[in-house]
């Protein structure tokens, strides 16, 4: 069995790379695996992007009063949530819109919270509405502000279409609402009507705003009402946590859209801040909220989030993997005369040289072929011969280099320093150059005995022992040609282009090396033309 060598080399690279990609995917979707003991021994509950006030609603109200008015205050227990909202809103003329809130139903106070925070911020009059029309007080206020736009912040289950029509007798009405509490709060956080000045307009594309948010669980509406003054001092929007203390999907989606990117340094702003009030929000949820808005570099938006360059990288990698699978299946089914080691080589080439690898594969094999009895030869123009020769080494070399690099980062770079490391000598002990040297040497030492000796002996029709030396030279030269482009681009991407060197569980680690591999192929291509001319490589199989 002469195929075991290439197969072992390919499987080693494939297992490392694919498990690395799977691990990166897992890290992207896992939520809070260490939450069970991450709060052990905490001395306080604040986090860098979250201030937390717990205790009874009165205690929260006292803490908020101290925060807002800079002095302690004895706060009476809340009597009625409608009164609490009414007394918190200081109406500021000119009145440009009215806020209509549902007055009845289960969780009515919770449903009113997102609108109440806006009303306090904007100084907009609040109108309470029953299921089919305004309350008596509400109707009186509506008459006073007749003709002013009304924003009905309740879904149809709480204020019916009849109720909406009843409001319409006093002014134009627009319903801004969603079906769940979490989605309702997000809808109000995102909505903006420039004409009437209603709405926070804090969508994901508001990149530069310093947004504050108050977060509470629905069953702790009284705690949230106590935090209404923050809408005024901090322009705080209200968002819901879940009844189970977690972050609901709608809130989670919104929060990750609020992560700000930095272009120069993370100190450039903006930052977002949360005020969690009440006791129900879990520590895991608080930590996720805190982490979701951690400022991150623009290309990647940090770990977990997906930055624009990462998105491109994922498409690039996806095209590569799809191309590799396609070539493997296509060659297996439709090119039975293709040698097994070359089938692996083209699969690796298509995987690490997205799109281009497939095009060259077709260019190499949609041609007339002849056989000399033990292998087939395809009639190709010189450029394609050189490409096939490049694929022969690149298809193994690039995946092996990526795999070895991954293992280095996964287990940690070795570094060396000391008095000897003066001048430029320090680079011989630095992690990045050591990793690159190991990638090259490792790829040569694996591909040489397992792959290149096998292939060369098949090509020349001689026993493997007779080609050991020449195969080593060819392998070293071929890998050097690939490395020239690959290492240069990998260094540039990781050390210069990306603001922070990516670790092995970040998409851009793979993205950088995928791009580097592609450039590695292009740089190696003309060198392989020289090697074909020198009869060091075949390029016709």
């Amino acid at each position: 069995m002469r195929h075991w060598g290439p197969l072992v080399a390919a499987l080693f690279a494939a297992i490392v790379i694919l498990s690395g990609l799977a691990f990166t995917t897992y890290k992207g979707v896992v939520v809070a695996p260490h939450a069970h003991n991450a709060a052990d021994g905490r001395l306080h509950h604040h986090l860098k992007n979250v201030t937390r006030f717990g205790g009874t609603p009165e205690e929260v109200a006292g803490a908020i009063a101290r925060a807002v008015y800079l002095q302690g205050a004895d706060v009476s227990p809340l009597v009625d949530w409608r009164e609490a909202i009414g007394s918190a809103v200081a109406i500021r003329p000119p009145v440009r819109h009215l806020v209509a809130l549902a007055a009845e139903g289960a969780d009515a106070a919770a449903w009113a919270l997102p609108g109440a925070f806006w009303a306090v911020y904007a100084g907009a009059p609040v109108v309470f509405v029953g299921r089919d029309g305004p309350t008596a007080d509400g109707a009186e206020r509506l008459r006073r502000y007749r003709g002013v736009p009304i924003y009905l912040l309740a879904p149809a289950e709480r204020v019916s279409e009849a109720g909406r029509s009843a409001l319409g007798r006093f002014g134009p009405v627009q319903r801004v609402a969603a079906d769940t509490l979490a989605a309702h709060a997000v809808r109000i956080a995102e909505f903006r009507d420039e004409g009437s000045g209603f709405g926070w307009g804090r969508r994901h594309d508001r990149e530069e705003g310093y947004f504050h948010y108050v977060v509470a669980a629905p069953q702790e509406a009284d705690h949230a009402l106590a935090a209404l003054p923050l809408a005024q001092t901090n322009a705080a929007t209200f968002l819901f946590a879940g009844r189970d203390g977690g972050v609901p999907a709608a809130t989670d989606r919104y929060l990750w859209g609020q992560r700000a990117a930095f272009f120069t340094t993370p100190s450039e702003g903006p930052f977002r801040h949360f005020w969690i009030v009440g006791n129900r929000v879990s520590y895991a949820a608080q930590a996720r909220i805190d982490w979701s808005v951690e400022k991150s570099p623009y290309p990647t938006l940090g770990s977990v989030a997906l930055g624009p360059m990462e998105a491109l990288a994922l498409v690039f990698i996806g095209l590569g993997l799809a191309g590799g699978i396609f070539v493997w299946v296509h060659a297996g089914r439709l090119l039975p005369e293709l040698m097994f080691p070359m089938r692996i080589a083209w699969t690796g080439t298509a995987a690490l040289f997205p799109v281009g690898g497939i095009l060259l594969y077709f260019a190499a094999y949609r041609r007339h072929a002849s056989t000399d009895g033990h292998m087939s030869h395809w009639w190709r123009p010189p450029a394609v011969v050189a490409a096939a020769a490049t694929a022969m080494s690149f298809g193994y070399g690039a995946p092996l280099m990526v795999a070895i690099g991954y293992l280095f980062v996964f287990f940690g770079f070795p570094i060396y320093f000391g008095e000897w490391a003066d001048g430029w000598w320090f680079l011989f002990g630095a992690g990045m150059p050591l990793m690159m040297a190991a990638m090259y040497l490792g790829a040569v030492l694996i591909a040489w005995p397992l792959v290149q000796v096998t292939m060369k002996s098949m090509w020349m029709g001689v026993p493997p022992k007779k080609v050991l030396g020449s195969a080593l030279g060819t392998t070293a030269l071929s890998m050097a040609a690939v490395s020239l482009g690959m290492m240069s681009v990998a260094w540039w991407m990781m050390m210069a282009k990306l603001p922070m060197m990516p670790a092995e569980d970040e998409v851009m680690w793979f993205g950088a090396l995928w791009l580097a591999s592609t450039i590695g192929f292009l740089v190696a291509w003309p060198f392989n033309w020289v090697m074909v001319r020198a009869q060091l490589k075949p390029g016709v199989t």
Binding site: A122, G199, Y210
Partner: protein, 420 residues
């Protein structure tokens, strides 16, 4: 010939597509127990609209309180890369924060106790922080820095099973050189911008603590000088800079802290600048607004500019405020400039906000703007009320508020709730 797709193939595809949603939905959630316990320092962690206090009465606890604010540690990405352990020696801790904290290390500083060993509280916090290990340094999880007993390494390795690197040097000057060599190996680079502070001046660190915060934020170089002399270790550090102009050197303090003679001597290694004011308070407000940019090195078709300093002169920033009398407690707070809202360190008196800080914060005071682009400042107050009094925190909050948001006017508005 194309063969029909077999049942095992269908099973493989089905399994693959079955695993995907499992992966996406089966990785835990954020639901959990209510946070009912009153953490012992929570009541003292006073928050105002635009400030948050991280209170402690001693440096060891202060460092823990700060680490807990920065690192939630519920997952690898919000836990630490590594932990710095140092004695309660200001110069050693100062040197460590200059060079270790920043990415790719991502490490808060925790102090050893007065016996030079990790206390139970520190070990518990180290356990909570779950260091992931620095991939660019052999997955090191703990850096033991300075003149620390070997026993510390054994305790950490035995009790926590963390991988330790000891960076031991006889004095802070040598420690700076050791850390410079170590960082060069980690990053394959010697940053050409080098902050220099005076080790033998009583206010040398106070003048330079703001610049130390910049290094914790951006990871540039650091070295010590004496007021009237340049140590050999510092000369060697500066000789290793390869910018077009050699090094770009930032002296923290005026001529009374680092003499003009030293500045002249240092100029043989590159461009020398000073970040300073007449008092430690002003040196740090100057640092907060300081920006130096221009040439670093160029080569054929590539060029790398230097870009040093916060350069904050407008609204929309965070500040880390601590007492000039509590440098040991304030040094670990530089990690707040490394994560979260970032931002420079400012010094105040325990019972007063110096004019320099007032003037600076007035300059960067926000103004009211629309809800889609609101702008705010924020400040961390470091230490308990004995270190930074509540009235000082109140005063800082007032200075950070957007104009027109003074608490008195808010109270008037609140009392007038209802119809105008």
């Amino acid at each position: 010939m194309v063969t029909a797709v077999s049942r095992p193939q269908i099973a493989w595809v089905a399994a693959l597509f079955g695993l995907l949603p499992l992966l996406l939905t089966g990785c835990g959630d954020t639901a959990g127990d209510a946070v009912l316990d009153l953490a012992p320092f929570q009541e003292r962690a006073l928050a105002t609209a635009h400030t948050t206090r991280l209170p402690a009465g001693d440096p060891e606890t202060q460092a823990i309180v700060i680490a807990q604010a920065v690192y939630a540690a519920t997952r690898e990405e919000n836990a630490v890369g590594a932990i710095i352990l140092a004695r309660q020696d200001a110069a050693e801790a100062f040197t460590a924060m200059h060079r270790i904290t920043h990415m790719p290390i991502n490490a808060p500083l925790l102090y050893l106790d007065s016996d030079g060993l990790p206390s139970e509280a520190v070990l518990r916090e180290m356990r909570r922080l779950r260091p992931d290990g620095v991939p660019f340094d052999g997955k090191t999880q703990v850096y033991v820095v300075g003149r620390v007993d070997e026993q510390v390494r054994h305790i950490v390795e035995d009790q926590l099973n963390y991988k330790v690197r000891v960076l031991r040097a006889d004095d802070p000057v040598a420690l700076a050189e050791l850390l410079d060599a170590w960082q060069a190996a980690v990053k394959a680079d010697h940053p050409d911008e080098v902050v220099i502070s005076a080790i033998d001046h009583p206010d040398g660190m106070a003048h330079g603590i703001g610049a130390m915060g910049w290094n914790a934020h951006m990871g540039r170089g650091f070295a010590w000088v004496y007021r009237n002399a340049v140590p050999e270790a510092t000369r060697r550090i500066l000789n290793r800079r390869y910018g077009d102009g050699g090094a770009y050197i930032y002296l923290t303090g005026g001529p009374e802290v680092i003499s003009d003679e030293v500045a002249r001597e240092l100029s043989q290694y590159g461009l020398v600048r000073r970040i300073h004011g007449p008092t430690v308070f002003e040196s740090n407000t100057v640092n907060a607004g300081y920006k130096d940019f221009g040439r670093d090195f160029g080569w054929w078709w590539g060029w790398e500019p230097r870009d040093f300093g916060w350069g904050i002169s407008q609204a929309g920033h965070n500040f880390i405020v601590g007492s000039r009398d509590d440098l040991l407690g304030l040094i670990p707070a530089a990690v707040l400039g490394h994560m979260g809202k970032h931002g420079p360190l400012l010094l105040v008196g325990s019972n007063e906000v110096p004019d320099a800080v007032t003037d600076y914060l007035e300059m960067v005071r926000p103004f009211p703007s629309g809800p889609t682009h609101s702008i705010f400042n924020h400040a961390w107050i470091i230490g308990d009320e004995a270190r930074v009094a509540w009235p000082v925190q109140q005063a800082i909050d007032r200075l950070l508020r957007p104009s027109g948001m003074a608490p008195e006017s808010l109270q008037l508005q609140a009392q007038a709730g209802g119809e105008p």
